[in-house]
């Protein structure tokens, strides 16, 4: 059973390296953001398999935190790609 879990760990690591190739080479900025989101998703399942291999429950919070960070960073980078700024300031309404 450990052999199968080790094979699946190697396959997830292979997927992360292929996405890393897309981050380095990727022609446009949204390609890199898509690959970064995919690395976050693969990292979640990698942590789950590691917590089985090491016989512990202590790593299960990492799944939630990595998921939330991947989603928020994807939304922030999408706003940056679209508008050029992340946090919009309030515009004054033209009254001098």
């Amino acid at each position: 059973m450990m052999l199968v879990l080790t094979i699946s760990l190697m396959l997830f690591t292979c997927a992360i390296f292929i996405a890393l190739y897309r981050i380095i080479v990727g022609p446009s900025m949204p390609d890199r953001v898509v690959a970064l989101d995919m690395i976050g998703v693969n990292l979640i399942s990698l942590v789950a398999v590691f917590s089985i291999v090491l016989h512990t429950h202590a790593y299960l919070e990492v799944i939630l935190i990595v998921g939330i960070l991947a989603f928020i960073s994807t939304v922030g980078l999408a706003r940056f790609v679209e508008r050029g700024e992340i946090v919009e300031h309030e515009h004054d309404d033209g009254m001098d």
Binding site: V4, S8, A35, M38, H57, E61, I68, F71, A78, E82
Partner: protein
């Protein structure tokens, strides 16, 4: 027996992750790459998290609420993130692949121009 079911689910999820990684390597465009990166990769992480949940449930009698929350969170947010980054790519005028047939969103955006 239940352990082997969970290990089989994890192995299926890892094979699915490698297939979606080849999709993100081989597809020609950012729009098609987002399909490979959101749909099949989400299926891969759901299968592996379900396998871990079944393993802890069968082996130690431990029902992990955190794994269930992780499954629900990934299942909700991955399509939302794919939609947002694809919309940002279209608004910032990333080219479609030359083999794509038609641009169905273009006449709609030209009919109602939106200045932001």
């Amino acid at each position: 027996m239940m352990e082997w079911i969970s290990v089989f689910l994890i192995l299926t999820g890892s094979i699915m992750a490698v297939i979606s990684a080849f999709g993100i390597l081989r597809l020609p465009d950012v729009y098609t790459r987002s399909h490979a990166a959101t749909k099949s990769s989400t299926l891969a992480v759901l299968l592996s998290l379900l396998g871990a949940f079944i393993y802890f449930w069968a082996n130690e009698g431990f029902i992990s609420i955190r794994l269930l929350l992780g499954i629900i969170f990934v299942f909700i947010t991955a399509p939302v993130a794919g939609h947002i980054i694809t919309r940002a790519a279209y608004r910032s005028k990333v080219k479609l692949a030359s083999s794509s047939g038609e641009d169905a969103l273009k006449p709609y955006l030209e009919k109602s121009p939106k200045d932001n």
